[in-house]
């Protein structure tokens, strides 16, 4: 890039029109990202048609800014509601939400804002300076390498389930099984649809995420609707949040740099999907930390790692797109389509034929990230204040409504909403039994990547040996490197405990601490856990049909391994059981009420109609939880219900054109 092109690009970016477009895109992106269920892909897909009427530079700059902002916006709901606004903020829940519950929410939001901006800028440097070599490196990843990368991702389970490795692995495998629902990547067989047409598209991970992470918190709010948001008084922590946040990001430069690089590298791999970057970065931050046991309890470095890396993914995804014409993530694929329709051909020629356009696009990321950080401060402060002040009895139905709306909006499938709520109930049960929901989510995300890589790699093995195709997984240099990294990562907890002679405490301790006032009854979680694992195996095994060889390989393998773990858990339950105090005995009337209302809501939504069911459910929840009863309260609750639902309905149905289910009423 010559000085002349640099100047031309800067002039193109800093026009009044483009700056205004960027600001609008960033604001919209933050809002979209903060809404659980609304992903970056959807936001970009909705924006693209608007850009057709703009000059190409403006269109690209707008979409780029929107993409960055949406990924950043996901941190808000992750921190405040324990719900990843986009799947790339899953890891932000692990420490961001505990921070919020501890009254340090503002600090967490500031960290997310600064971290996102820094990660984005680091990613932009990577894109600007190393696009071509990075893209070439990305090409070296073929199916066997993607398989081992997914395995590496799965080894994170060993680190986050230190207190019960068996359960963590079992949870991960259940996640993999669930990810196999739908069409097999190789062979095209329809698997595990349990005879339901609505399951043929597979389980939508975003609705499971929302269910697993958000719904248990709604249940917690249901148990005590009069409790405030945070466990502690937050005002004492609010002063100095900004300074502390700056300190966390800039005071640990190597940590921030590491997270950015992880994000950039995961972003450049087209087959990896950027969603695992934040989890890998989180794991590495925990590994490098001098006090890893604080991770999961509200450790700011956890938020730094996740939010920095996920924004670096955005620019990483642009690397193969611009350098080779291969999109590195689903939003990048949409940008690819938009470029083609503008008559531009992404790939090496783009840098020569349309140099100033490409560099304007790349440089705009720097500007967008800075703007995003500034706007993010204002937005974050506002959102934090709003959530803290809203009484639980209004917050809870509103969040529930958003989760239902969000999980439906993903692909207009009412089954996704049902799955979302059922996952919530399942997640609540599993969490109480000591199963790590993060492990399940890892299995769900990485299962398809691992299976695809495995079966495609197996087919590729014909090139090496027709009789033993599996050899190919072990002879390629990049694969060998990944295997070594995976082994290291899987055994790290053992290595470290040997090094320190200290028993790892991990997440369970954190859970116990967070569950203030645990019940007295302890249950043998290993027996119950083992039973659940074996029951799941039996259930899925019964659904195996006459599938092609390639569609059956992975499920049968997974089921076989799971049976071993299920039995292992039962054995452990007999020998050295892990007795856990659950919160099951805190289940009271209001809890049951919320569960029943929720179930009715999601199951009747399609039959009766979205608006009517939502109004009824919202009203029921609000009225039931209001301390004062009587007619004025009825009116008040009704008004609130109508108001909130009207605003959100109009936004989604009209502005975002999501067709909401209309049963026999609306």
């Amino acid at each position: 890039m010559t000085m002349q092109i640099f100047i031309e690009s800067m002039i193109a970016i800093f026009t009044l029109q483009n700056m205004i477009l960027m600001v609008i895109a960033i604001v919209l992106g933050i809002m979209a990202g903060a809404l659980p269920g609304f992903t970056a892909t959807m936001a970009v897909a909705l924006m693209v048609p608007f850009t057709f009427t703009m000059p190409p530079v403006s269109g690209l700059i707008t979409i780029g800014a929107l993409y960055c902002a949406t990924i950043f916006g996901g941190s808000f709901s992750a921190i405040l509601l324990n719900t990843p606004g986009t799947p790339s903020s899953i890891g932000t829940c692990f420490d961001g939400y505990p921070m919020a519950r501890n009254g340090r929410g503002k600090e967490a939001i500031y960290i997310a804002t600064i971290g996102s901006g820094v990660g984005g800028i680091m990613g932009s440097f990577g894109l600007l300076l190393f696009a071509v070599p990075l893209a070439r490196a990305a090409l070296k990843f073929g199916p066997p390498e993607y398989f081992w990368t997914a395995i590496f991702g799965l080894t994170i389970i060993s680190s986050i389930s230190e207190e019960s490795l068996l359960k963590g692995i079992a949870a991960g495998f259940i996640g993999i099984l669930v990810s196999m629902i739908g069409i097999a990547p190789v062979g095209g067989d329809m698997r595990f649809d349990f005879g339901l047409v609505s399951l043929q598209g597979g389980v939508e991970i975003v609705s499971v995420l929302i269910g697993f992470f958000c719904i248990p918190e709604i249940f917690r709010m249901a148990i005590d609707p009069t409790a405030g948001y945070a466990d502690n008084d937050s005002t004492q922590h609010e002063k100095g949040s900004f300074t502390r946040a700056m300190g966390e990001v800039f005071g640990h430069p190597w940590a921030t740099l590491r997270a950015s690089i992880i994000g950039l590298f995961v972003g450049i791999l087209p087959g990896a999907g950027g969603n695992i970057a934040n989890l890998i970065a989180y794991n590495e931050a925990k590994r490098a930390s001098k006090h890893p046991e604080t991770f999961g309890t509200g450790e700011p470095q956890g938020v730094v790692a996740t939010e920095t890396s996920n924004n670096a993914v955005v620019e990483g995804a642009m690397v193969p797109l611009l350098a080779l014409g291969i999109p590195g993530s689903p939003p990048a694929a949409i940008i690819y389509g938009a470029l083609l329709l503008q008559g531009l051909s992404p790939g090496p020629q783009l840098f020569t034929k349309n140099a100033s356009l490409v560099y304007a696009f790349i440089l705009s990321f720097f500007v967008a990230n800075i703007l995003m950080t500034i706007i993010g401060f204002a937005a974050g402060k506002g959102m934090y204040k709003a959530i803290i002040k809203v009484p639980t009895r209004v917050l809870m139905p509103t969040i529930l409504f958003l989760t239902i709306l969000g999980s439906y909006a993903i692909r207009n499938n009412p089954m996704d909403v049902i799955i979302m709520f059922l996952s919530g109930i399942l997640g609540y049960i599993l969490k109480n039994l000591g199963f790590n929901t993060g492990a399940f989510v890892l299995g769900l995300i990485l299962g398809p990547i691992a299976e695809k890589g495995f079966v495609q790699g197996f087919l590729m093995g014909n090139m090496v040996s027709m009789q033993q195709p599996w050899i190919i997984f072990f002879i390629r240099p990049l694969s060998i490197t990944l295997i070594a990294i995976s082994i290291f990562s899987a055994s790290w907890p053992f290595i470290r405990s040997l090094m320190r002679k200290k028993k790892p405490t991990g997440i369970q301790a954190a859970l116990d601490a967070a569950n203030s006032g645990v019940g007295k009854k302890k249950i043998n979680s290993d027996y119950i856990g083992g039973a659940i694992v074996l029951a799941t195996c039996a259930l899925f095994y019964s659904q195996i049909g006459q599938w092609s060889k390639y569609a059956s390989m992975a499920p049968i393998g997974i089921l076989a391994i799971m049976v071993v773990f299920g039995v292992g858990l039962l054995v452990k339950g007999a020998i050295k059981p892990e007795k856990i105090a659950t919160t099951f005995d805190k289940i009271n009337k209001s809890f049951v009420f919320v569960v029943v209302v929720g179930l009715l809501w999601v199951f009747l939504m399609e039959r009766i109609g979205f608006v009517v069911t939502s109004l009824a459910a919202f009203f029921a929840l609000m009225y039931a939880f209001h301390p004062k009863k009587g007619f004025p309260r009825v009116l008040g609750s009704a008004a609130m219900a109508i108001g909130v639902i009207a605003v959100l309905y109009l936004t989604f149905a009209k502005l975002l054109s999501v067709t909401l289910p209309t049963g026999f009423l609306i």
Binding site: P143, G201, L324, I334, G337, M463
Partner: protein, 315 residues
């Protein structure tokens, strides 16, 4: 005068009701559903059609996605929609023929997908990496004969145009290659560029997008395609292979003929727009002009060809 006022009101309402019945379709926004991922061939074409559709039909056209199952999710959903013409879904051949034949329960039957127009096709091409030792199709065939199973041919989807192309070519050339399914053309291309597969059986659009990085050895069309003028057809090289994906738009069963006619006319007009045609052909799309009846005939013809092949797929 209450009675005359109420008569007047009744008449007014009756007129309005009658008016809406006879109001020209479309009177509200339309939903153009795509069964495949954004960024793919269906998406690019639909996005290009969208502004023109809006102009011709005079209503907003929303492009939305119902992805999954290699298209099955979108088509299974289409047959459940109201047959009023306000929802139409992009349909693909051979997918809508092969899926019901090869999948136990894909959620729809081929004859439930009612095409209104078939607007483009992308013939198969066989492409290798530009650095590949195979300079001609013959090189590839020779190598495959000497090393059965070792030539890896990647393609989009299982039981798809790409896989059929590979299986038929294997038969015609008397060779045995290994098909590796990817979840889309965009998923297959990195494998070719990275040297992980020997070749791709893919679509013409890929040949154009990755000029310089890939070498197209042959095109599975009746005549040479304008976007790849120097590439011989399979027929020229001695293999009677004409195959590819046809794409169009379809509506649920029992959609009124009048509605189908209006949609078909709109798609037809778009295809005949010279600027649109030039842009899409340069990207590698071959424009087709088949209305509802011709599209149905195409499906019937292709079904006869595919049914016997269906058993061999994915095995």
């Amino acid at each position: 005068m209450k009675s005359s006022r109420s008569v007047f009101l009744v008449l007014l309402i009756a007129l309005m009701a009658v008016g809406t019945v006879f109001a020209q379709y479309p009177t509200k926004p339309l939903d153009y559903v795509l069964a495949f991922n954004p960024g793919g061939e269906s998406d690019i074409f639909a996005r290009a059609q969208q502004p023109l559709l809006e102009k011709i039909l005079g209503q907003k056209v929303m492009v939305s996605y119902k992805i999954g199952g290699g298209g099955a999710v979108g088509w299974a959903d289409l047959v459940k929609q109201k047959p009023d013409g306000y929802t139409f879904t992009g349909h693909n051949l051979p997918h809508i023929i092969l899926q019901p034949l090869t999948m136990a329960n894909c959620g729809y039957k081929t004859n439930e997908i009612i095409p209104v127009y078939t607007f483009m096709s992308t013939p198969n091409v066989i492409a290798v990496n530009a650095k590949s030792p195979f300079k001609t199709l013959d090189d590839l065939v020779k190598y495959a004969k000497a090393n059965p199973g070792a030539v890896l041919i990647g393609g989009s989807g299982s039981a798809s145009a790409n896989e059929i192309g590979q299986k038929v070519f294997d038969k015609l050339a008397g060779i045995k290659t290994t098909y590796i399914p990817f979840t889309g053309s965009g998923d297959a291309i990195p494998a070719l560029l990275g040297g992980h597969v020997s070749a791709l059986m893919t679509y013409t659009t890929m040949g154009n997008s990755y000029e310089g990085e890939v070498r197209v050895l042959a095109v599975a069309a009746e005549k040479r395609v304008s976007s790849l003028p120097n590439i011989p057809t399979f027929r020229e090289l001695g293999y009677d292979l004409v195959e590819g994906a046809y794409r169009g738009a379809a509506v649920p069963p029992n959609t009124p003929d009048s509605v189908k006619k209006i949609l078909a006319a709109a798609f037809d007009k778009i295809n005949r727009d010279p600027e649109f045609a030039k842009k899409m052909e340069a990207l590698g799309f071959k424009l087709e002009f088949m209305g509802p009846e011709e599209s149905l005939k195409l499906i019937e013809e292709k079904t006869k060809v595919y049914a016997p092949l269906a058993k061999e797929l994915g095995k």
